[in-house]
């Protein structure tokens, strides 16, 4: 009994899953028949022959061929509206379709020049690591001695971005995005209170929300397409947390008159630096990368350098409890950012008739062919 039920279910599944295959084969046969009718000049019956399958069959490649045949049919039937509508459907089935001038009829090529399916908008998303070089505006010392040295060290952060590109044309686009980033840098003070004496290490971690706006120029042919851009970004600081480590290194007398440096170290808890920072900041950036075309979408690798424009430091809060306990004071500085991203672009193709048809080159070819025939 159970065995019969299983077999029944299997047959039902097989029926439903195989249905489209049967339909596909059937429509393929219909298209072949329509092609034969076309070749024999029996044009008037072709739209009716294909209409049923066009309603049922969603295979993009089949629909491209079917609508292409219909376009050619309507052109020969001198039905320009039908031809244009069919060609729009060709582009909907394959936004990147371009007729071959050497193979396809010249009137189809001419028709194609009135249409495009290039994307108006593209969605993109990316993520990757970054580092944040510090550019000091004014050096501010916590120690009065000239021998005190300071340096900044790069630390790796990360970021995730998403946005939309508006395509002015196939090469130039404008981009608006939103970015979350975590940036890190380390500030080290050496020789505090004497040569080879105290060291203070401050590791500062920020999180940001940014709104980048840019203008991009891209190559538009080939599988690998380089691009470059310049832009401007508004940045809002969400959090700023720091950890400070003090190496209090004093000379320790040893027996025999020798000395060594003995260090008593202290690590701070996580300190909130948000009030010590300006909340809003800006940057200009330049970047570039390569897009790799995958089917109708793209993967890309991007490198961007952003130059921070504003002083990060809220000078009203430069000196506070942190100064009184952890021997640290901020320089005035701008925070740059070098980021590497790996991302994905999904263009929103839109088949549409052009306001200004690009038919001049086709007309020139027609004239050239006429001259050659004469």
């Amino acid at each position: 009994m159970v065995g019969k039920k299983i077999i029944g279910c299997f047959l039902i599944l097989l029926t439903f899953s195989a249905g489209p295959l049967f339909a596909q084969d059937e429509c393929e046969l219909t298209l072949n028949r329509a092609q034969e009718e076309f070749n024999e000049g029996h044009l008037y019956g072709i739209p009716g022959l294909l209409s049923d399958c066009l309603e049922r069959n969603q295979n993009a490649e089949w629909r491209q061929r079917a609508y292409l045949l219909l376009s050619e049919t309507y052109l020969l039937l001198e039905d320009p509206l039908g031809a244009e509508q069919s060609y729009l459907n060709v582009l909907r089935a394959n936004p990147e379709f371009l007729p071959d001038q050497s193979r396809d009829p010249i009137d189809l090529v001419y028709l194609s020049r009135k249409f495009t399916a290039s994307p108006v908008f593209s969605f993109w998303a990316s993520a990757g690591p970054n580092v944040s070089p510090v550019r000091v505006i004014h050096d501010v010392n916590i120690g009065g001695e000239s021998g005190t040295k300071e340096k900044y060290t790069l630390k790796v952060g990360y970021h995730a971005d998403a946005g939309f590109d508006y395509h002015y044309d196939e090469r130039i686009s404008g981009s608006l995005g939103v970015s979350f980033s975590s940036t890190v840098f380390k500030h080290t003070t050496n020789n505090l209170f004497g040569q080879n004496k105290d060291i203070v290490e401050m590791t500062d971690r920020q999180s940001w929300i940014s709104i980048p706006i840019s203008v991009k120029y891209s190559d538009n042919v080939g599988r690998i397409r380089p691009y470059g851009y310049v832009g401007f970004t508004f940045r809002t600081l969400l959090t700023d947390n720091a950890n400070i480590k003090i190496f209090n290194r004093d000379t320790k007398d040893l027996t025999g008159g020798t000395e060594e440096i003995a260090s008593s170290d202290k690590q701070s808890p996580t300190l909130n630096f948000k009030d010590k920072r300006q909340t809003f900041n800006q940057a200009v950036f330049v970047g570039g990368g390569v897009k790799y075309k995958y089917k109708l979408d793209y993967f890309f690798v991007d490198v961007r350098y952003a130059l921070g424009l504003k002083n990060m430091v809220n000078s009203d809060r430069r000196y506070d409890d942190i100064t009184y306990r952890w021997t640290y004071v901020d320089d005035d500085f701008r925070l740059d950012n070098l980021s590497i991203s790996i991302g994905y672009i999904h263009p929103f193709y839109k088949a549409r008739k052009l306001k200004h048809a690009r038919t001049k080159s086709v007309l020139r070819k027609i004239k050239k062919d006429d001259n050659a025939n004469n």
Binding site: I137, K197, I246, D250, Q282, R318, Y319, Y324, W326
Partner: protein, 399 residues
């Protein structure tokens, strides 16, 4: 500005004018006194200590931006510097004199050290004494001597009949600038405790006299008991007292910490700051004296609702009034540095604190700078050590 680039030209270097800077070396360093030269450079005096060194004077000279020009230890072990002043005349004109206490408690002796503006020690002298002496300050006199003052072991001759409660005599000593002679200018008996915090030369009744500012519990009359009060004692060149002025609130104690001469711009005279003790309560106590020391124009405690210990005072230069420096004791007994600007009548203009509850941060000295800024020298208790701190703030106490 919403858009634009912050560059060195567009970001005001306010940190050069208003800042906190720490000074020191191995171990801990406290800040006790500051002297501002006419060129804006500053002499910071303090003491250094570590596990192996009890205390040794530490002196720093900075430029007007607080950058160290030179710094070093001076004196000897178990020595505490308390005051630095400019020598205004004589062979050492332009140099500095530092006073310090060598040894502690009943072994304390006074040392004078002359240092030039490059930090080189010129000469020093431990004042010879048979009993302990403790110095509070030094004043270069117009006749090129140094007048030091403080307190000393009670002298039985000056305290008759002797009392078991007698702890100290108020003293003032005259030391020649060549450090070759030491004379007693004034040796006050009769008090159980007290000390002079500063001596000023005062022209009174056509002659040069010396006013010892400090505090004493010596009764004004025999009918009242011993109780600490601010005291100004005027003596002539032979140490003979000609005037005694006490001020304070009956039933409470007033202990002096520092006294300054008030310039004409602040109505001339003298100003003394200290602490009013009323049981466990502590408040800043101030007194303002007329130029002829005939009257105390102002003698009051300044209740701020917290435990306060008056430490130092400076006359404002561009503003009216005075800048008072105090130690503010927190609930956990740690102290913060408290700076308040008061008007001539004692009312507050503004106040601010430096330091954190987690550290025991203490006040040293305050100076009003010509351009209106205020320099505070103190000791900040950092996470791993104490360091001498120079804090320079705006004329309203901010950065």
């Amino acid at each position: 500005m919403l858009l634009g680039c912050d560059t060195g030209n567009r970001v005001d270097p306010v940190f050069q004018d208003h800042f906190i800077k720490y000074y020191g070396e191995d171990g801990n360093q406290e800040g006790v006194d500051i002297y501002v030269n006419s060129d804006g450079s500053m002499i910071l005096l303090g003491n250094s200590s570590s596990l192996t060194e009890l205390s040794i004077p530490f002196i720093v000279k900075t430029d007007s931006l607080g950058n160290v020009l030179w710094q070093h230890q001076m004196g000897g072990r178990n020595e505490k510097a308390v005051d630095v002043e400019l020598i205004t005349s004589g062979t050492h004109q332009g140099k500095l004199v530092v006073v310090s206490n060598v040894g502690t408690d009943t072994e304390s002796k006074i040392r004078l050290t002359i240092v030039d503006q490059s930090g080189h020690g010129i000469d020093s002298l431990i004042l010879p004494t048979d009993a302990w002496q403790t110095v509070k300050s030094v004043t270069p006199s117009s006749d090129n001597d140094f007048i030091v003052c403080g307190y000393a072991a009670p002298d039985p001759i000056r305290n008759s009949p002797p009392s078991p409660d007698d702890q100290a005599d108020i003293i003032s000593l005259r030391v020649s600038q060549s450090l070759t002679s030491v004379d007693t200018l004034s040796w006050q008996g009769g008090e159980h405790e007290g000390f002079a915090v500063k001596v000023f030369e005062v022209p009174l009744q056509g002659e040069t006299k010396y006013a010892l500012f400090g505090y004493s519990d010596r009764p004004v009359t025999q009918s009242v008991g011993f109780e600490d009060k601010f005291e100004v004692l005027v003596v002539d060149v032979f140490g003979q007292p000609s005037l005694r002025l006490t001020s304070g609130q009956k039933g409470e104690k007033q202990k002096a910490a520092r006294a300054i001469r008030v310039p004409a711009s602040q109505e001339d005279g003298y100003f003394m700051i200290g602490t009013n003790e009323d049981g466990a309560n502590r408040d800043i106590f101030i007194a303002k004296y007329s130029n002829d020391l005939s009257v105390a124009k102002l003698a009051q405690k300044l209740p701020y609702g917290r435990k306060m210990e008056g430490v130092a005072v400076a006359s404002a230069i561009q503003e009216e009034g005075y800048f008072l420096l105090a130690n503010e004791t927190q609930d956990n007994n740690n102290r913060n540095i408290f700076l308040v600007h008061i008007r001539l009548d004692g009312s507050e203009v503004w106040s601010t604190t430096f330091g954190t509850d987690d550290g025991d941060d203490t006040a040293g000295a305050v100076a009003a700078l010509k351009d209106g800024r205020i320099a505070v020298l103190g000791t900040i208790d950092l996470e791993t050590q104490k360091k001498m701190a120079l804090i320079i703030v705006t004329k309203t106490g901010g950065f």
